[in-house]
Symmetry: C2
Subunit: 442 residues, 2 copies
Amino acid sequence: MDSLSSTLARAIVSSRAEDLNEATLVEARRALVNYLGCALGGAGHPAMDIALRALGQFSGPKNAAVLGRREETDMSLAAFLNGISSHVHDYDDTTPSNYIHPTSPVASALFAYASVRPVSGRDFIHAFVLGFDTVTRIGDATYPAHYKVGWHSTGSIGIFGAAVAIGRLLGLDEKGMLWALGLAATQSSGIRDNFGSMAKAFHPGDAARGGLQAAFLAREGFTTGTTPLEGPRGFAAVTAGGQFDHTGFLDRLGTHFRFEGNTYKPYPCGIVIHPTIELCSSIHAEGVDPARIADVECRVAPLVRDLCDQRPDSGLQGKFSIYHAAAIGLVRGRGGLDEFTDEAVADPELSSMRGKVRATPDPSIGEDAVKVIVRLDDGQEIERFLEGSLGNLRCPLSDAQLAEKFLGQTQGIAGADIHALLARCWRIDDEQDVGDLARSAR
Amino acid sequence: MDSLSSTLARAIVSSRAEDLNEATLVEARRALVNYLGCALGGAGHPAMDIALRALGQFSGPKNAAVLGRREETDMSLAAFLNGISSHVHDYDDTTPSNYIHPTSPVASALFAYASVRPVSGRDFIHAFVLGFDTVTRIGDATYPAHYKVGWHSTGSIGIFGAAVAIGRLLGLDEKGMLWALGLAATQSSGIRDNFGSMAKAFHPGDAARGGLQAAFLAREGFTTGTTPLEGPRGFAAVTAGGQFDHTGFLDRLGTHFRFEGNTYKPYPCGIVIHPTIELCSSIHAEGVDPARIADVECRVAPLVRDLCDQRPDSGLQGKFSIYHAAAIGLVRGRGGLDEFTDEAVADPELSSMRGKVRATPDPSIGEDAVKVIVRLDDGQEIERFLEGSLGNLRCPLSDAQLAEKFLGQTQGIAGADIHALLARCWRIDDEQDVGDLARSAR
């Protein structure tokens, strides 16, 4: 019997662009529109300036576009930088079945590659679909074991998608694709100790770069083991306590591509605190005066406390703080990019409100839900419950909302015609050469 | 109380070169001599050609020396390539307390760095000692949990040493050193599924490069979490089931540097099959005719079967085959570089002998021992036992043997004056600028 890894490699190399159905293409385009907005919106973040200062000196031929930046770098470094910019605001897509942000590592490598070598829109979206599907399948097969131990799977699993996508564009054969998977598995990394710091966005960057290099190494014949996913010392054994749902992984492999579980964020922060922002914003909209709030209790799924228990000192930490989420909703009635800056976290009114918020783990509350109990200074209690906030699977962002999000993230960007860029991204598979689009997005 | 990671960072940044005692320097020099021979000896391996073909296109300014090669690359890629060459023959040093090859990831980064920026021999060996000690301490503190789950800790722990060594040369302050450790922890990777393939040597290469880049990123202010080693989602929790021997780790941190457990290999293959090669070679030397051997039983520690159970098709796989180890000893009476080529593995006489070898796990046998029972075609049995083979802690290679090994690995190299290079490496801390030595070793 063929190994699982070989079966995956064969499915990737034998896939044909014409086998993608319209439903898959529609979601793939939505993912890429959301991605490009995030990359452009994050391109000016200090983490990008720092990464360029530190690693720009090692850049090879400066022929690749870094999305949203004037600087050019080599293809590999551009993949890394795109990964940082597209994830640094924690605004990119999320698949709640495994909590991976699947597009950033894959598309970051693809846009960098396409900015140097000609790639048709059709081949681009095909490679993207294969990479995205690989990430989602490995993520689903190893969730929750892999995630729970503390991996940031956007990096540690995202790298497989980048390797597969670039491997496909390089035309790897089955053996080469297996080696690309082997090199991805052996670079798989990224720990959750870094949530709330720049290093969180390092993860998809490193995955995009590592996956891209894995594909180039594999093409030249750099050998690996043959069971990177399922071997006794392979990815699942080493990083997921051996959990790997073989049956689920193989289900409709090569014929169905798992985009149906993807979601897009209306708030630039950890997805599990979105219900809290929305519910607290609606309490604010009811006219509850923040100055009269004495105490706030958020009843949340245990995972929310696990992920978002930070008492923040920085904007990046604020993105993983259930306390900050409640505070911005109650005080400002919104949770936009401006609510997750260092300044917002230092805002005395928000800081004071955070101090009044408690978060109680409650296993009866779903991960997409929250119960908020606000006690006012006169003892009055306001109790509200929300399940399935905006952006959730049950309440997805519409195309119009995605476009609005894109424009909101890119409004400060000079030079490029943002509306034209957005229109082209909606029809990315019609592009003759995606490199032209990538270069327009500098 | 300070966190463990902060304590380590502070010990690194406050260390002074003059605090190293002579015993430490002696072993550090021996490690570097052994390292340089391995790097020069492995520089011509096909894995190096492939890596250069695949990744040379992304090289930045070609101002760094790749040990043993004519080509120059940027510093970061040179660190990666040095890591491959110095480990690809599995001939580099080993610390049996944790089975890490500690010098390759650290020295590979250091030689690349020093080939571009001036570094005195004294600063070089000091940074090396700090990196080596960090690797050994983290390795000891997490052994066996980290290793047993399937990590190739030469990569997954080696990266901390590279980050610390380069961070030290860059003059990081305590906070910067903590971030360098954070970025090392979050890139920690390398799985044992790749034993017997080129990807095994990818691991120290990737660690050298990743550690170097971690230090450069940290210097510019790329932030990370603050508990990369000990946090609930830090390195030990995520990769070692939470095992971390705090007390052992902190024991004499900053005053004693753990070189006393390091060993140098007389055979270019997995260390746990060295006793088998030596014992079978001595049976060969007794005059036992290989043609008369009907059956061979090797009783070995269970770890030997775990690590070296391969039925090899390539030279690299032969390095992890207890069967091949017995065969080369019995048939050829030796285990040099020529016994671990693809040709040797394909040799019909060796292949036939491998088919006669069984390996029985026996918990009463130590990891540095073996019992071999050879049955001849007339039924006669020869039983021999060996404990502590050459190169073992109890039987270390002398300086003269290290020099002989160095010269044996470098005999085919044209251009450089190998004897002069060796002499300088023995006194590396006297060099005014190690870059000059590194450039001489191209």
